[in-house]
C-alpha cells in the first residue's frame, strides 16, 4: 500500500497528487509510461503554495492519469483502508499526516475519495486555479482542488492556490480570491436532484437524507427537483473527457521521455509496443473510446453533440441557481468500494460519472463534505464552504 509515490519534505504539510508537477521531483501520474519523467518546472499552484510558506510533504499515489474511481489502478498499487478502496490523499488527511492535499479533479475521483474517506474536497469553478503544471487529461473540465479535514482548512489552502495566471489561457480573472466559511446556512435554499439521488444505494440515500435534515435544522429550505439532462451530462462528459484524454495521452509515445519498449525495429513498433506495455487497460479503453468519438464518421453525432449538451446543462444549472443557493446530491453511488477487475473499470467510472459529471462538464464548483456532495453556481465557493462549515460545527 503506497500513499506517497515520492516524499519531498519530512516536515511538509501539504500533499500533492502525482498528476501535478513539482520541479525536479519524478512524476508518474500513476502510470508506467511516465517512467523516470522529471519535470522541468513546478505547477503554478505548487509555486503559490511554496511562496506562501507551505512545505510539500510528497506526491500522492493516483490512478493512472486520474481516470479511475479513486486510485485503484495506479501502476504503484491500489490504496485501501480496512479492505475498502480509498484515495491516498484523503487517507493521509484523515490520519492527520497532511494538513491538506492538492488533487486534480477530472472525473470526480477526489470528490468520491473525500466523501468516502470522511474529509472535505472542494473543486473550485473552472478557471480559478491555474492548470499550468497539471498532467493533462480532460483539459476542458479538470481543476485542481483541495482535500482538507475541515471547510476552514480547505478555504485557507484554496485561497493560496487560486488566482489569475497568464500561463493558462483558460485562467479567468476574478474580483476576489478570498473564500468565506461564515455565511451560514439559515435561509439558504438547497435543491436535491432526484435523478442523482434515486440512482444511489440505500445507504448513500440515508447519508444524503440525514444531511438534508441537518440543513433544515440549521434553517435552510430543502426541496427535491428534477434535472432530466442528468444522464445526458453523464454521457457527454464521458465523451468529452475521453476524447481530450485520448489526444493528451498521444504524447506518451516513447520518443522523448518516459518508458520506451526495448522491443522495436521501426518507429511504428516503437509507438505501438511502448503504449501497449506502458498504459493500463482503463487508459487504453479511454483512448479507444475517445478516438472513436472523434473519428470522421462520428464527430458530429458524438463529440459535437456532447459540446451542445454541455451548453444545455450549463443553462439548466444556471436556471436552478436562480432559485437555489446550492444543490445537495450523493458524491457516489455506493457507500464503499472493493477492489475489482480493471476490465470493468470503464463501465464503473462511467456509472459513477452520473454523480460527478455536472460540475466537471459545466465548470461549476462542487464540494464533497460529510459524505455528500454540494454544488453551487459559478464562483459560489464561499456558499459551499459556508454550508459545509456550518454543518461541521453542528457535528
Amino acid at each position: 500500500m503506497k500513499y506517497y509515490i515520492s516524499e519531498i519534505n519530512k516536515d511538509g504539510t501539504i500533499a500533492v497528487d502525482d498528476t501535478i508537477l513539482v520541479k525536479g521531483v519524478l512524476c508518474s501520474a500513476g502510470s508506467h509510461i511516465m517512467d523516470g519523467f522529471e519535470p522541468l518546472f513546478s505547477a503554478e499552484a505548487v509555486e503559490r503554495l511554496e511562496k506562501a510558506g507551505y512545505k510539500l510533504s510528497g506526491k500522492t499515489n493516483v490512478g493512472e492519469f486520474g481516470l479511475d474511481l479513486m486510485g485503484e489502478f495506479s501502476y504503484y498499487g491500489a490504496v485501501s483502508e480496512g479492505g475498502k478502496l480509498a484515495g491516498a490523499a484523503a487517507a493521509l488527511v484523515k490520519k492527520g499526516e497532511a494538513k491538506a492535499a492538492l488533487n486534480v479533479d477530472l472525473n470526480g475521483s477526489p470528490r468520491r475519495a473525500a466523501a468516502l474517506g470522511g474529509v472535505d474536497f472542494i473543486k473550485p469553478t473552472y478557471g480559478t486555479v491555474s492548470r499550468y503544471g497539471v498532467i493533462p487529461a480532460a483539459c476542458s473540465g479538470e481543476q485542481i482542488g483541495v482535500t482538507a479535514a475541515s471547510a476552514e482548512a480547505a478555504a485557507e489552502v484554496l485561497g493560496v492556490i487560486a488566482g489569475h495566471d497568464d500561463k493558462d489561457g483558460t485562467s479567468l480573472p476574478q474580483a476576489s480570491y478570498e473564500y468565506k466559511t461564515d455565511e451560514g446556512v439559515k435561509g439558504k435554499k438547497i435543491a436535491v436532484i432526484s435523478e442523482l439521488f434515486d440512482a444511489a444505494s440505500d445507504e448513500v440515500k440515508k447519508t444524503v437524507e440525514a444531511y438534508a435534515e441537518g440543513l433544515k435544522a440549521e434553517g435552510a429550505e430543502v426541496k427535491t427537483i428534477s434535472l432530466e439532462e442528468a444522464k445526458a451530462a453523464q454521457l457527454a462528459w464521458t465523451v468529452l473527457s475521453a476524447a481530450e484524454s485520448c489526444n493528451n495521452f498521444s504524447r506518451y509515445d516513447g520518443v522523448k521521455f518516459g518508458y520506451r519498449t526495448p522491443d522495436y525495429k521501426n518507429i511504428d513498433d516503437l509507438y505501438v509496443n511502448t503504449r501497449t506495455e506502458g498504459l493500463n487497460f482503463l487508459t487504453k479503453a479511454t483512448v479507444l473510446y475517445g478516438s472513436n468519438v472523434l473519428s470522421k464518421g462520428r464527430y458530429f453525432d458524438c463529440y459535437d453533440k456532447a459540446l451542445r449538451i454541455r451548453r444545455l446543462v450549463s443553462e439548466k444549472m444556471a436556471e436552478i441557481f436562480k432559485e437555489f443557493d446550492a444543490v445537495l446530491v450523493p458524491a457516489c453511488g455506493e457507500a464503499s468500494y472493493e477492489e475489482y477487475d480493471i476490465k470493468e473499470a470503464f463501465e464503473k467510472t462511467y456509472k459513477e460519472a452520473l454523480f460527478t459529471a455536472i460540475p466537471s462538464i459545466t465548470g461549476i464548483p462542487a464540494m464533497a463534505t460529510g459524505g455528500v456532495q454540494l454544488m453551487a453556481a459559478a464562483f459560489g465557493e464561499s456558499t459551499l464552504l459556508s454550508v459545509a462549515a456550518a454543518m461541521e460545527r453542528r457535528g
Partner: protein
C-alpha cells in the same frame, strides 16, 4: 482532344514574429544549433499550456487583407492528431472549423493575360519539427527548433490553368508578404502542396487529382507541374496508366514524381476544438487597428515614388527591400527632398556598402542620422566629401554625425575663412607657380589647387577652393 490543366495550391508561409505561436521561444530565424530554441511548451511536455501570440493573429489578418479575404470575427483553434516523431505532442494545433480568413481572391498576370485566383481560406497553425537521418550510425534525430513556429496556410481554389500562373502567384505572394513584413519568405519559409488534375477543355468536372506535398523551390514546382501534366496527358490519351487519387513525391535529381506508399490519405486526423485556447474575437476596433498598421502595398509605394519623380530603376531598387523604403520614407519625413534622399541612399550609402562587399538592400542606418548628414551638407556646414566620410563612419561604427564632424574638424574645413587662409598660404609659399600662372600657364593653376587640397587634407569643398583661388589670383594680375 484538348486538355485543360487544373491546379490548386496550399501554401504554407512562416510568419515573421519574434516568438513562436504559443510560447516565448524565439521565432524562425533565432536558432543556430539543433534544439537551441525549445521550451517545455513547444516540446509538448505534459503540464504545459499554449498561450496565443497576438502578433500571429495580426499578421494572419494582414495577409487576409492583402488577399482580399473576409476576416472572421470569431476564430478558433483545433487539434489535429497524428503520430510522427517531429510532432512532440502528437497533435498539431491548427484551424479546422473556424479559419481566420475566408473567400478572398488575387489577380495573376501572365503572357496569357490576367486571371483571378480564388482564395478559399487562410488559417493559422504551428509548424512541426525536423528529422535528421544519419545513415552512418543508422539513427534518426529530432530537432524541435522549428516546432510551433507560426505559419499561415493559404488554400486556393483550383483556379490555376498553367505552371506559369502558379509561379507568378507564388512570386507575387512572396514579394507582397516580404514587403508588408508578414514573412521574410526565405528559402524554405514558403512551402507548397500542389494539387493537379487534367480535364477536357470546356468541361467542368474535375479529373483525377494527384498531390505533391511540401515543395519549396519555384524551379522544382515548375518542373514537377510540367512532369505531372505530361504524365496525366499520357494516361488520358494513350492509356499508359490508370490515374488514381494519390500523393506523389517529386524527385529533383531524377526529374520525375513517384507514388508514395501513402498512409496519410487514409489517416483520420480526429480534429476537435482545442479546449486550452479560447476563441479569438476580432472586433471592428481591432480589425481597424490591424488595417491601419498594414504597410502600403508594393503598388501603392510604386505610385508614391513615381509621384516623387523617381526613375523605374530607382523604384525597383527601393521596392526590392521594404527596409530601404522605410529608411527613405523616414528621411523624407525628416525634411529632406525625396530626390536628395534617394540619391544619398542609392548612390552614397550603396557605394560605401559595395566597398565592403554588401548590397544596398542590407542597409541599416538610423534615418535621423542620415537626415543630419544630408542637412549639414545641404546647409554648407560640411562639403559632400565630408558628408561621405561621416556617412561611412555612421555605417561602420554608428557614430554621432555632429560629434564626428567636430572631432575630425570636418565642419571647420567647410568654413570659407579657413579655406581662404589656406589659399593665401599656398599663394604665398608657391610664388613660382603663381608666376607661371600669371605668365599664362594654365597647368600651374592645377598645382596650386592641388596644394590647397593637400593642405586641407582633401576635406575642402573643391568648388569653394577653386573660386577662392581664382579670385585671389585675379587680384594679382
Amino acid at each position: 482532344m484538348k486538355y485543360e490543366i487544373v491546379i490548386g495550391l496550399e501554401t504554407h508561409v512562416e510568419l515573421s514574429t519574434n516568438s513562436k505561436i504559443f510560447c516565448s521561444c524565439g521565432g524562425h530565424s533565432s536558432p543556430i544549433e539543433p534544439n537551441d530554441c525549445v521550451c517545455p511548451a513547444c516540446a509538448g511536455m505534459p503540464g504545459m499550456l499554449p498561450v496565443m501570440n497576438k502578433r500571429v493573429v495580426e499578421l494572419a489578418v494582414q495577409a487576409g487583407l492583402l488577399l482580399n479575404c473576409e476576416i472572421s470575427k470569431y476564430t478558433t483553434f483545433d487539434k489535429k492528431s497524428y503520430y510522427y516523431p517531429d510532432l512532440p505532442a502528437a497533435y498539431q494545433t491548427t484551424q479546422w472549423f473556424h479559419p481566420i480568413c475566408k473567400n478572398g481572391h488575387v489577380e495573376v498576370t501572365t503572357k496569357d493575360g490576367t486571371r483571378e485566383i480564388g482564395i478559399k481560406q487562410i488559417h493559422m497553425e504551428e509548424d512541426a519539427g525536423k528529422l535528421v537521418h544519419d545513415e552512418w550510425t543508422d539513427t534518426s534525430m529530432v530537432d524541435f527548433n522549428r516546432t510551433s513556429v507560426p505559419l499561415i496556410e493559404i488554400v486556393s481554389h483550383p483556379d490555376f490553368r498553367s505552371a506559369d500562373e502558379v509561379l507568378t502567384y507564388l512570386k507575387n505572394l512572396k514579394a507582397m508578404f516580404r514587403f508588408a513584413g508578414i514573412s521574410e519568405c526565405e528559402e524554405g519559409a514558403m512551402r507548397c502542396d500542389v494539387n493537379i488534375s487534367l480535364r477536357p477543355e470546356g468541361t467542368t468536372e474535375l479529373g483525377v487529382r494527384t498531390e505533391m506535398k511540401n515543395m519549396s523551390s519555384l524551379v522544382s514546382i515548375e518542373r514537377a507541374i510540367k512532369y505531372e501534366t505530361a504524365r496525366h496527358m499520357d494516361a488520358l490519351e494513350r492509356n499508359t496508366e490508370v490515374l488514381v487519387q494519390e500523393t506523389r513525391r517529386w524527385d529533383d535529381t531524377k526529374g520525375r514524381t513517384f507514388s508514395m506508399r501513402n498512409k496519410e490519405t487514409a489517416a483520420d486526423y480526429r480534429y476537435f476544438p482545442d479546449p486550452n485556447l479560447m476563441p479569438i474575437v476580432i472586433d471592428d476596433e481591432w480589425l481597424g487597428e490591424i488595417r491601419d498598421n498594414l504597410p502600403a502595398s508594393i503598388e501603392e509605394k510604386t505610385a508614391e515614388y513615381k509621384d516623387y519623380g523617381f526613375g523605374d530603376k530607382e523604384i525597383e531598387m527601393l521596392i526590392s527591400e521594404r527596409g530601404l523604403c522605410a529608411i527613405l520614407d523616414a528621411v523624407v519625413d525628416g525634411g529632406i527632398s525625396p530626390k536628395s534622399a534617394a540619391a544619398w541612399i542609392l548612390t552614397e550609402c550603396a557605394g560605401i556598402l559595395r566597398k565592403n562587399g554588401e548590397l544596398v538592400g542590407s542597409l541599416s542606418i538610423e534615418p535621423s542620422k542620415l537626415v543630419t548628414i544630408i542637412k549639414m551638407v545641404e546647409e554648407g556646414k560640411i562639403n559632400r566629401g565630408g558628408g561621405k566620410k561621416v556617412l561611412a563612419a555612421v555605417l561602420e561604427k554608428d557614430v554621432d554625425p555632429v560629434q564626428f564632424c567636430k572631432d575630425n574638424s570636418l565642419d571647420a574645413q567647410a568654413d570659407e575663412g579657413a579655406v581662404a587662409a589656406v589659399v593665401a598660404d599656398v599663394i604665398k609659399n608657391n610664388q613660382n607657380a603663381v608666376n607661371d600662372f600669371l605668365g599664362g600657364k594654365q597647368k600651374a593653376f592645377q598645382a596650386l589647387f592641388g596644394g590647397c587640397m593637400k593642405e586641407l587634407k582633401g576635406n575642402g569643398d573643391p568648388q569653394v577652393i577653386r573660386s577662392l583661388l581664382e579670385k585671389e589670383l585675379e587680384k594679382l594680375k
